[in-house]
């Protein structure tokens, strides 16, 4: 740490879950780094940017206060005078954030006390008068501004992999005391041979990320698509909030419009906000979205329940359709395969939950694989698809057999259901156990590793 002062922090808009995690951290590993104070005493404000109302809260703070903010979010947030900490929260990331806030404060104070002559003598350290807006963290990171501080305040996210960060603090993913730890190894109560049990601590990507930064972003995206919910039991699905009702979300309206569009062959324009819309083009099976479906705004629209009358469905006239066609041709990057658009929308809505029509008394079988070259990838998607094609099973069985967190299977189940790729069966689950290694499993593993970026060449 640059200084030994304990940072006075105030928690503003934060979900109960993340508040509990932070309180747990502040009471233990972080007690020498942070002290929770009322807002008027705070040196920094902590805001959960994924929580409703957080954006407005940050705006208010930014306009009225000079203290930096710590923004926690699953998405990469780049806001002035703010430090982004990626979820899931880790001790290392929070400790790093404390350090970076101290640097921001120190730098800010330095600017306020430096003599005007000194400021004028160096163009590299040009300082704005007190009272001018505080520059963003990236401004602070400019090498010319303060070469001593620069290496410490970089644009690397606070949650960056260990290799990015100094080695003095270990990385621990933070959970509340009541939150179940992720499965790391065999279930002691399992009667299966532990040597044969498949446990996936790491995720096999469909394609290799090109850098650690990409890898962090990919993990965050997966957190958004598949959530972070712990495993549950069939009896506790409702209690643990592992079920979502599509009708409360944009997904419900979009699916309804898609069904109509496909049935009639007609172009449908679904207004998802006042400005933005999705154009459903059933004949070539495309969807044009005026919002990037991989962007934060679209994710928010899918993640939070919609208000009544938020979504409007419109059938364009011939004249409008010609204008829209011309617009679509000018913006080809926003043209998506229709199924891929629905797939992403469902995943974002599901967040690792099952849909309301899921029947725990039935088994399911995957009729057809999703078109995975054109759809957004989620962890273990290949093994889930392969196993579910070969046997009728519940999502719980699939997760158990593959030894993976249920949220990935639940997300896959939801997305495949809305693309009508899953078939419901009355039959009892079949037991083509995959725990018995098949012939050539070792060779296949080495080939996979090789194709995904490892192994010999």
């Amino acid at each position: 740490m640059m200084q030994n002062d304990i940072l006075k922090a105030s928690m503003l808009t934060i979900s109960p879950h993340n508040r509990a995690i932070l309180e747990f951290f502040f009471a233990g590993a972080g007690k020498n780094l942070f002290r929770i104070t009322p807002a008027h005493e705070a040196e920094t404000f902590i805001i959960d940017y994924d929580h409703p109302g957080a954006h407005e809260e940050w705006e208010r703070i930014h306009l009225s206060q000079s203290q930096p903010c710590i923004i926690i979010s699953i998405r990469d947030i780049d806001l002035p005078n703010s430090i982004w900490v990626a979820k899931p929260l880790t001790t290392k990331a929070l400790a790093d954030a404390a350090q970076r806030v101290q640097l921001l404060l120190q730098n800010h104070n330095k600017k306020m006390v430096v003599p005007a002559s000194a400021a004028a003598s160096s163009s590299a350290s040009t300082l704005k008068p007190v009272g001018t807006p505080i520059p963003s963290t990236r401004d602070f990171a400019q090498p010319a501004l303060d070469p001593v501080l620069t290496p410490k305040v970089s644009s690397i996210p606070a949650s960056a992999p260990q290799s990015f960060l100094s080695e003095d603090i270990s990385v621990t993913t933070l959970r509340t005391p009541f939150e179940a730890a992720p499965k790391t190894n065999t279930n002691p109560s399992s009667t299966r041979n532990p040597k044969l049990l498949l446990v996936r601590d790491t995720v096999t990507p469909m394609v290799e990320p090109t850098s650690n930064r990409d890898s962090v972003k990919q993990q965050q995206r997966w957190s958004l698509l598949c959530g972070t919910l712990p495993d549950t039991t069939p009896e506790n699905l409702q209690r643990d909030r592992h079920i979502f009702d599509a009708n409360q979300y944009l997904l419900g309206s979009l699916m309804e419009a898609t069904q109509q569009a496909k049935k009639t062959g007609q172009v449908f324009q679904v207004f998802i906000t006042r400005q933005h819309y999705i154009l459903l083009l059933p004949q070539p099976n495309y969807a044009f979205s005026s919002l990037d479906i991989h962007g934060a705004e679209f994710a928010d629209l899918c993640t939070y329940p919609i208000t009544s009358n938020q979504v409007h469905i419109h059938i364009p006239t011939a004249v409008e359709q010609a204008q829209l066609d011309a617009y679509v041709q000018q913006h080809p990057t926003h043209l998506y395969d229709l199924d891929a658009c629905l797939w992403t929308t469902t995943l974002l809505t599901s967040g690792g939950r099952l849909h309301q029509l899921y029947d725990p008394n039935k088994t399911y079988r995957l009729k057809h694989w999703p078109n995975l070259t054109r759809m957004e990838s989620i962890p273990h998607v290949m093994s889930i698809a392969a196993l579910w094609t070969q046997q009728a099973a519940t999502p719980f069985d699939i997760a158990k057999q593959l030894g993976i967190p249920q949220r990935y299977v639940f997300a896959f189940h939801s997305a495949s259901s809305y693309l009508l790729l899953l078939h419901q069966e009355q039959a009892a689950p079949t037991s083509n156990s995959i725990t018995e290694p098949k012939k050539n499993r070792g060779l296949f593993s080495r080939l996979l590793k090789r194709l995904l970026g490892g192994g010999a060449k």
Partner: protein, 182 residues
Amino acid sequence: MSVTNKKIIFTGPVGSGKTTAINAISDIRTVTTDALASDMTQSRKPQTTVAMDYGLITLEGDERIHLYGTPGQERFDFMWNILIKGGIGLILLLDNTRTDPFQDLKFYTHAFREFIEQQQMVVGITRMDLQRRPGIAEYHQWLEQLGLNAPVFEIDARNRKDVITLIQALLYSLDPGVSVDE
């Protein structure tokens, strides 16, 4: 130490992208036996594979995965039975711009039926950017009619990621429990 040699077979009609797909993932420059097309093939491409394509993926311990592309022309089908020996699976590439992709699907799945039933098949549809119909759902229906179930993906044979996805799907179909962590 014995060297493991396994094969993955790429098949499909003329111009469906077999040579390109092998080239996208092979460690070596693809060995190909192209000749000037002298028959109907000429209308689709000036040069075509008359014997086979060959590519290679080398793994740790000198294990080798041989990638064989069958000649697209039906008159070379006598070679297919020779090529599939020792094969772990079939990648069938179909060109969506051809006159009758269903006939192509029928022809190749019939020709390799025994091999598909013993091993696995993954279908890659090329040139869907030029011709959207038939769609993936129609290929699913056709496979069902033929009593088959296989992953079907839209691919660009020049795109390494797409070709890797085909191979991944093949390996997971053969063994859903496979993992890079083994």
